[in-house]
Symmetry: none
Subunit: 404 residues, 2 copies
């Protein structure tokens, strides 16, 4: 279901909203003491806000469905992730700040190491540092600029990752990945996912592009091969501004999160994944926007590493930034997550994420702590994450009465 | 909403799921002590699982809608009962293990007692025992084998109930019941529910079938009349295997529940409604399946009888079977119900049913008992029963991440 169209109700009262996402925040409490990371952490600021605001739990995509980073955030932004699907290449392109235009086709590249027979020895090329990757990408950009009349663009991302963008008329993005997902075999040929002419033609072009590219870097010790994944065009979605009447900015140090925010039309602020820096970015841009999406990455990383204590530590660090955000005077300050990443599972999970919404208009629900279990008794209940944006707008006084 | 298509996310990790249904489990606590049957019962095993797993409440069909046995189970199986509707005749046919083929039309029959003027004296023929019913069905099978070129098949069910199946070309199942739902009047004529030719033609044939049949058993003392209900074809639905990637089996001693499970493609195991026997059936088939639906009937019967104490007793019996199920080592063990049957109401009801999901990946929600009231604070919240299957798959590690 696409949800209710809120546009007729929107009113601009000049109020501001901060969405502060602690990536992968949710846990499952499967450890010996049965606590989640958030329960174990000291979060005096979030606890205080919980006692003044209202809490609950958000289900990111669909019951039982574990979200990737894109869908997890889209839900928080009010875009049903099942309806608004996006390829990894497109997300990456927008994420690195690439001038990704309608009609372009992007793919995410992983440099890999090939042996003398062309079989994959290391799918991540020894996770070469970003600087080395930049050097190799520069070689590619020099060697492969145009194939079959299609412009070929290359950009470094991080470590062994890079971006390929094709620009031309009538390109198709229905192409399959060339990553065989295992070592000891060569990269796959580029195949069209359907018989559509645009796909078939583009597959041929990409095959030539990759062959030419690998020839150009054949003398590299580590990054002498390329795997391409997630071919995609830029989706054409109604913007955050159109849907919610909010001029929005993102402060996220990681390209992926910046990318998904830009896909809905948010402006990217300078960000480094140092929370004090990123909060300062929000503060510096305060007058220019209605809505700020501030992303805190380290909690997710610790969860994926299976490091309970580190996740607790980073939750506490994220909490410590709250007073600086309050000082800016937002009408609504939200703390939540894009998905759970329980350290016991070392991976994203489907478990609902805790949400805290602080606003003068919030109904006090009697909670005095912010965690997954307390939130079960919170005033927002358990609901799809797509409900968050309407609630944020309402608490900010930005939604007029419906009906006479 | 039809729900999210999970097929692209399915992954087979060899894990197993048990769905243990305590039929009619939910109560309303309307008695003097204000307890539900489940609150009053001693359920040490379910309570222990609740403390290790996660709980909640499921709404079977739609808020306020009281489910019959078919819809109640379909929701648990992940088939929206409003979307997947099925006639009682079809359910009965599959339930008794009848070779019910696409195109066949089935009806559920009740033997009744007619007086000398042909009016109904007893709508259930004194609830004649199954053996007597079998004898009468054998007479019918001998007397009425074909009408209007349509093959006519008969099967006994239980007590005064039987099954009629028509097999032929172009049959319609849009036929109205012949049961007037009261005594002192004759059975109704068979009427087509619409003017569609297949229905009109089939109505004529069935009228002849029933007339011929009642003539053949006119000398019976009790079962000398027939009431036909729920004319239906076998629905053609996507199977449980197709939708969820699970090879599934049912252990249910009552034909109705076996029937609904078979309609979604589950294999029927031997079952007798003796819980130790039915658990042993599951154990014996353990290696052959991914998913087991184990049905416990007696709780519902006690509720319908308005017998609070008996329902408590049977809940305790159902609970006692849990350790044997745990010993099999399922990744996910679910205890729940198809609907509530409060003994105070002596009938099925619409009240949400408690659900308990035990799995290593379950978020501990701090509950230490399993009942309708404790479950209000459970981690699964209150949700439609169609959410159960996605959650079961997720907790079993059978759903891959959605999106990048």
């Amino acid at each position: 279901m696409a949800g209710m169209d809120l546009r007729p109700l929107l009113q601009d009262n000049g109020s501001k909203i901060i969405l502060y996402v602690w990536d992968g925040l949710g846990g499952i409490g499967a450890g010996p003491e049965g606590k989640t990371e958030l329960q174990a952490a000291r979060t005096p600021n979030a606890d205080r806000l919980a006692s003044q605001g209202t809490c609950g739990l958000l289900e990111p995509v669909y019951p039982g469905v574990t979200p990737g980073s894109g869908p997890g955030h889209l839900g928080l932004f009010g875009y049903d992730p099942v309806e608004y699907q996006i390829g990894r290449g497109a997300l990456e392109a927008v994420g690195v700040g690439f001038d990704f235009r309608p009609g372009d086709v992007a793919a995410r590249l992983n440099f890999c190491t090939l042996d003398s027979k062309g079989a994959i020895k290391d799918r991540r090329a020894g996770r070469i540092p970003t600087d080395e990757s930049k050097r190799v990408v520069a070689r590619l950009a020099e060697a492969v600029k145009e194939v079959d009349g299609v412009e070929v663009l290359w950009a470094p991302v991080k470590e062994h990752r890079a971006l390929l963008v094709l620009r031309g008329e009538g390109l198709g993005d229905g192409l399959e990945d060339t990553d065989p997902q295992k070592e000891g075999v060569p990269p796959l040929e580029v195949r069209a996912a359907s018989g559509a002419k645009a796909n078939v033609q583009t597959a041929k072009t990409v095959q030539k592009v990759l062959a030419k590219a690998m020839k150009a870097i054949a003398d590299e010790k580590k990054a002498n091969g390329i795997l391409a994944r997630g071919f995609a065009k830029r989706p054409q979605w109604p913007s955050f501004q159109e849907r919610f009447g909010l001029h929005a900015a993102v402060a996220a140090g990681t390209p992926m999160y910046r990318g998904v925010a830009r896909l809905v039309g948010m402006d990217a602020l300078e960000a480094t994944n140092e929370i004090a820096n990123d909060v300062a970015s929000v503060a510096a841009a305060w007058e220019g926007y209605d809505f700020f999406f501030l992303h805190y990455k380290h909690t997710d990383k610790a969860g994926e590493d299976g490091d309970f204590d580190a996740k607790v530590h980073y939750i506490e660090e994220a909490d410590s930034a709250i007073p600086a955000l309050e000082k800016l005077g937002p009408a609504v300050l939200i703390v939540t997550a894009d998905h759970s990443t329980p350290s016991a599972m070392k991976a994203h999970s489907w478990h609902p994420v805790p949400v805290l919404l602080a606003a003068e208009t919030a109904r006090r629900d009697g909670l005095s702590e912010f965690n997954e279990i307390a939130c079960l008794r919170g005033g927002l209940g358990l609901r799809p994450s797509t409900h968050l944006m309407p609630l944020a707008l309402a608490h900010a006084g930005r939604l007029a009465k419906f009906g006479a």
